[in-house]
């Protein structure tokens, strides 16, 4: 297996959220259409990306921190795996369990909060768990290339890298689609292209949970 695979997965997951209309680009387009300004679409992408980043950062910080805390490490893997599986099952059973949000007119803080809630409700951060277990350093175990670096700095560096790669991929895909739909295709594309990937995503959550036991 190639060494870059965790990073490819991190980027692909970001791209997937960028593609999903319910995670942000559609809201950006709606805000642009409401004011008939392309700049509004671009403006909206920033808080959406930051809200998404914040949701993921919580999981990254939690896993990174617990990996450093030595004794908890043995429980961390099964706990994360079970959390993923339970969350996937929960979303199968209650697919429409979402934070309540009814507001079109939002400032950047509200838009960021909305994105944070949507990302959290979809388990965007949780999905990264198996990868984090792979890339984050663990106490007492010298890591591959950065053995000379203080372990806490190593953790921070890896965490920031995960956030950067994931968010950049999401922003790139989300921004491209938002502008293409706003400028060229129009929203009629929703009728044919908005396929229901809930089953795939929920299944992936469970699969990632099972995988976490072994990776």
């Amino acid at each position: 297996m190639i060494a870059e695979w965790p990073w490819i997965v991190v980027a692909l997951l970001g791209a997937y959220h960028g593609l999903d209309p319910s995670m942000g680009w559609l809201f950006a387009v709606a805000l642009g259409l409401q004011e008939r300004r392309r700049s509004k679409v671009v403006w909206a992408l920033v808080p959406i990306a930051l809200g998404h980043l914040a949701s993921i950062a919580i999981v990254v910080a939690l896993v990174g921190g617990l990996r450093l805390a030595g004794p908890l490490e043995t429980c961390l893997r099964p706990a994360g795996a079970i959390a993923l599986i339970l969350f996937g099952v929960f979303r199968f059973l209650w697919p429409r369990a979402h934070p309540r949000w009814v507001a079109m007119r939002v400032n950047s803080l509200e838009l960021g909060l909305w994105s944070f809630l949507m990302a959290s409700a979809h388990g965007a951060g949780l999905m990264l768990f198996p990868i984090l277990m792979d890339v984050m350093p663990m106490k007492g175990l010298a890591m591959r290339h950065r053995g000379h670096m203080p372990i806490i700095a190593h953790t921070a560096l890896e965490g920031l890298a995960v956030l950067a790669v994931h968010t950049a991929a999401m922003l790139l895909v989300m921004g491209t689609i938002a502008l293409l739909v706003y400028e060229r295709f129009g929203l009629a594309i929703l009728k044919s292209a908005w396929v229901n990937l809930d089953f795939v995503w929920n299944g992936a959550l469970i699969a990632a949970g099972i995988m976490s036991f072994f990776v």
């Binding site: 309540r100 009814v102 079109m104 009728k191 229901n196």
Partner: protein, 463 residues
């Protein structure tokens, strides 16, 4: 059941929905005006496919399980609002009709699949459930919203006020509870809708159930005790923002028809009666300088009539009021249809400029004095009342009853139910379809809903 692609009847914008295929079925609620005979209200299915051998005929019927529900308005479990960007659930189906009994306070959940011509009742939400979970009764208007089904209720379980709005889940149909957090001065309820692009909900006013369930009370009407205001609410915070009072003499502010384009900050509402001269009027609510306000744009005068032509309640006035009791706005926000249930007119106004109406068409059918005939039937009683417009704006369907207790006040001879169709010219103009008339035996038709959506069923989040 979740769909693989968005329900094909959902459209991101009203503009796109005007290109929807023509309807091939209509659902019509019909009430039995004399519950003492033990017969049940029903949901009827009308064939509207011109290629069908049963075109223009009733092809199906679901009877309600109880007697005396007084079916009135109804709506879909899901519509284009499911595509709204902040709470999307595009893969639910437009499938269930929620049919409230205005008198019984039951809500019937009726499944239109697998056979749209043979819908089936799959659940009945009892009055007690609505009362205990939301504190309301007499459910009226149903709108599928961005996050839930919204239902207006005209009063409290004891028949007094306040009336308000409660929410239902669009798949389980559980009563989620009362919508308002702060109702301010609002007490009366009737219709509601919203300007989604502006995060604003609007409600209108009739009276408490005790004020109308035995018919309109003349003393209350002349004493101006019924509602006459529109309330503007913050949709996000669920709080009252502004009371827009039509002012002295105006009574019964009913149907709210906001512009379908969510970027527009206006809508139309009908005021049934002015106690000064029995005229009816149309108003526009709109946002100006950051605040909401309301302005009268159309006056429809009463017509002189001799006493012997009038029901007891109107004899003293020697005039027949127009009684604009229902209105409907085409999906392109251009034409407003106004049913004048007193005189019998259906008026079509061009409201491209919402403050500058142009009368572009008028057809008369029935009416208290005129009893204007249909080519297929001769003179008709009742008059065009509930009006529904096809998504392409070309076909207008009308039914002739209002509310059982009020029917008897204005048409004491008793209303014989019918549904007629008008054809609208896309550039303005209205004509009666001489070949289309559906006559009912003992039931009275009220609201009409078109398969796949119509001009008062869907809300849109995109222009």
């Amino acid at each position: 059941m979740a769909l693989w692609k968005p329900d094909p009847t959902f459209y991101p914008s009203s503009r796109m929905a005007t290109a929807a295929p023509p309807e091939t079925l209509a659902y019509i609620v019909a009430l039995n005006p004399t519950p003492s005979n033990g017969r049940h209200d029903a949901l009827c299915v009308l064939d509207l496919d011109p290629k069908s051998s049963t075109y223009g005929r009733l092809v199906g019927q679901v009877e309600m399980p109880n007697v005396g529900d007084e079916l009135h308005h109804f709506g879909w479990n899901a519509c284009s609002a499911a595509l709204c960007p902040y709470a999307p659930h595009p893969h639910v189906e437009r499938r269930y009709l929620l049919v409230p009994g205005l008198r019984s306070s039951r809500i019937h959940v009726i499944d239109t699949k697998p056979d749209p011509r043979n819908p089936r009742i799959v659940r009945v939400i009892e009055a007690e459930e609505i009362a205990s979970r939301a504190g309301y009764s007499r459910p009226h208007t149903i709108h599928c919203g961005p996050d839930a089904i919204y239902v207006s209720a005209l009063g409290a379980p004891n028949g007094e006020g306040p009336g308000g709005i409660f929410l239902l889940d669009c798949e389980t149909f559980d009563v989620l509870g009362r919508w308002e957090i702060d109702r301010g001065p609002q007490y009366f309820a009737y219709d509601f809708w919203w300007n989604l692009g502006h995060d604003v909900l609007v409600t209108s006013e009739w009276g408490t159930p005790n004020m109308f369930e035995k018919g309109l009370v003349p003393e209350l009407l002349l004493g101006e005790k019924y509602g006459r205001a529109v309330h503007v609410w913050d949709l996000k915070r669920r709080t009252h923002v502004r009371k827009l009072d039509a002012g002295e003499g105006y009574q019964l502010v009913f149907e709210l028809r906001p512009a379908h384009d969510p970027t527009k900050a206006y809508g139309f509402v009908n005021c049934v009666l002015s106690t000064k001269d029995l005229s009816g009027s149309i108003w526009v609510w709109h946002r100006a300088n950051g605040d909401w306000t309301m302005k009268k744009i159309i006056d429809i005068p009463a017509e002189p009539a001799s006493e012997d032509q009038l029901p007891p309640m109107l004899k003293g006035f020697k005039a027949v009021p127009p009684l604009p009791t229902d209105i409907n706005l085409s999906l392109d926000d251009r034409f407003l249809y106004v049913s004048c249930w007193g005189t019998g007119d259906m008026k079509q106004y061009d409201l491209s400029d919402p403050f500058n109406p142009k009368l572009t068409g008028s057809v008369r059918l029935g009416g208290i004095v005129s009893h204007a005939p249909h080519p297929k039937s001769g003179p008709l009683n009742g008059a065009m009342q509930m009006v529904e417009v096809s998504r392409d704006g070309r076909r207008i369907y009308v039914s002739n009853s209002l509310y059982s207790a009020i029917d008897e006040q204005f048409y004491p001879e008793g209303i014989k139910g019918w549904v007629a169709k008008l054809d609208a010219n896309p550039s303005g103009g209205l004509a009666l379809d001489p070949n289309f008339l559906v006559q009912f035996e003992h039931l009275r038709p009220h609201q009409i809903r078109l398969e796949g959506g119509d001009c008062s069923s869907d809300s849109f989040c995109y222009p």
